[in-house]
Symmetry: C2
Subunit: 394 residues, 2 copies
Amino acid sequence: MSRLSQTWNQHVVKKENKALVLKTIQERAPISRATIANVTGLNKGTVSSLVSELIDEKLIHESGTGKSSGGRRPVMLLLNETAGFTISVDLGVKSILGVLTDLRGNILSEKKIRFSQEDFDEVLALLYQLIDGLKNDAPESEYGIVGIGIGVPGVVTTEGEILLAPNLGWKKVPLQKILFDHYNVPVTVENEANAGAYGEKVYGVGQMSSELIYTSISIGIGVGLILEGKLYKGLRGFSGELGHMTIEKDGADCRCGNQGCWELYASEQALLDQAEEAGFKDTTVDHLIEAADQGDAKAIQLLENVGDYLGVGITNIIHIFNPEQVVVGNTLRQAEKYIMPAIEKRIEKNAIGFNKNDVQLNVAKLKNHSTVMGMAAFNIEKFFTETGNEPIMH
Amino acid sequence: MSRLSQTWNQHVVKKENKALVLKTIQERAPISRATIANVTGLNKGTVSSLVSELIDEKLIHESGTGKSSGGRRPVMLLLNETAGFTISVDLGVKSILGVLTDLRGNILSEKKIRFSQEDFDEVLALLYQLIDGLKNDAPESEYGIVGIGIGVPGVVTTEGEILLAPNLGWKKVPLQKILFDHYNVPVTVENEANAGAYGEKVYGVGQMSSELIYTSISIGIGVGLILEGKLYKGLRGFSGELGHMTIEKDGADCRCGNQGCWELYASEQALLDQAEEAGFKDTTVDHLIEAADQGDAKAIQLLENVGDYLGVGITNIIHIFNPEQVVVGNTLRQAEKYIMPAIEKRIEKNAIGFNKNDVQLNVAKLKNHSTVMGMAAFNIEKFFTETGNEPIMH
DNA sequence: TAAGTTTGTCTAGCGAATAAACAAAGATTA
DNA sequence: TAATCTTTGTTTATTCGCTAGACAAACTTA
């Protein structure tokens, strides 16, 4: 007979409490054992014993004494952020951005490779090159590279297979397996918007929110859902296809098969198409922003129009989820000066009061690093929650 | 200093394991101690001791022996479903439907009161009358009435206050507090669609699904979200306002302040308005179905048209959530013969393959009882997970 | 200098789960 | 029919993690 669900025994208790202590140190370092006991509600003795195990495992370390508050001075504890490193990558349509981070998410090295050929094998070669470069930049450490994470612009299963990446022309690429077989360390492959959402939640503008919707506005629109503090992926990992939410019932046909999809009106592609029609030849988002900055009324109007359409979809999001925060990220975020007021105006006009009052609208704080930092957060979290991490031998 | 999160000690372990044993009996009764141990992974001795406590608390009882499978015959355990009862109510726009259920959700008594006056005090008097009637029908039991639950067509906070019930004309009614002060038993007030979703999940068509979206199609449209097996309520309880999702960007104004809302095209109200225009005077959904059954092409077309618009919104739902199941419930469900094929056709044509292949479209199995049964499920779950239930004294 | 405070460790004890022995009750087989 | 094997459920001894409280160390305050 198969096991129904988790049973609770003392081993689970210890594992959970140890994770709680580690998380507390992550979030509040420098912190003393006594404060951890107060904050978590655990007994002082328990904290002492768990802390000493974490020190043995090199995940944390002591760092001198803190200030006395009328008695013995506390011994402050710090996360041993250089016990291991992550390689976190945003695999985009025209470039690959990769970072080497420590276990606090500090970036130690950053590399970017541009490409034009989208053939998978060629891109994979570039990806290996980038990862190898970052790996070389990693200092000696107890645990070495603890995880590799790749954010991709496409539909990714919960098993890390890219089913479809339309703007790369890829289908059915088992990237997680390919990279794991090559590097033999834990590999996470995740949709770019999902990663961006988590990045903003952990390191960006959403650190205080547990209900956060991240909209990745680029050539298309992807959406990452943080619900109850966790990424929501749906049955098989395909949630968040809000770019293909109909906002115009008998609207234009979308290549996805649907009609009147949001991204036909509110994406970078939509903006560029409209600009073309308005007489801008072979333009880019940067050019349009530049023109707008110089007072070009046509450019301003184009940007505001896209913002208005973004507002329509975001109003839907607010009604659907009752979120705490909606974050606008990816390339079109660069036009925030023009699109954000337009979005706000639309929300102000159209959203239902109860839901509207709860929600904050923000621009991605991590800018073009939302996705890489999200992958870093996935890597780090996986490492810390994995049971029985043993230091590697050198 | 405030406590950050739950700490794990042996008391928690015991509570969780006891709940696990009880849940296993709920789901698989009649079941023996040995089978529980196998299914849950708990030790035989642990199960024996927890079971004996549950028997002492009168929550379960033994019921003779089962069939031998080559050794000693097992003692079968049953849930003591008559240890207590719930009163569960669907407070609608024109009527109140209430049921008395046992702890397995069996209906022992059912009452319905129709009303036309929507004045709160008058409706409250009727509600008291209905609840008192059901209470009188409850047999003597260990725990008596363990909970009262009310599903209402409106916006409900997590604290059980009705902020707005547009079709009743109510604002800011603290119904949970009012009923608790009156009856002094646990009271749950929840949005009608949220309750319907949970009802279908626990007792209806969704028993096998953990990602289920329930659409309540009545005068307006409400949506209940079951994500990862649990009801998702958003930051303050206002999620699921998909009736006010824009599907026509510059569509008609909705009284909610938004434009082109889904429920302007796909609700009972929309159907009746369109029927009026098409020449049906003062008609009802029942009349239209009857006409359609007799081959009235106009009526058939009206129903199919609403179904098509429902399909547009449900396609959005499929793209947003990647659910396992979408359930169509409430009054318009009665026209399933005409609307379901139209919905399916629209999904078939417009939904993205990956998401489409995962999803099942179903009609609410509990018919007009989805909401009451959802409230019953809430009541029962609350009772079973509450710590230290003590039998009441008679 | 003495008394009070805070930090962190140590020890004894508790309670819940587990493994293993055991008893009870039936099936199977010679 | 008797002997053996199976399955169920209880009992017992053991383990392990947490807790309370004692204690020592280190510091502040009067």
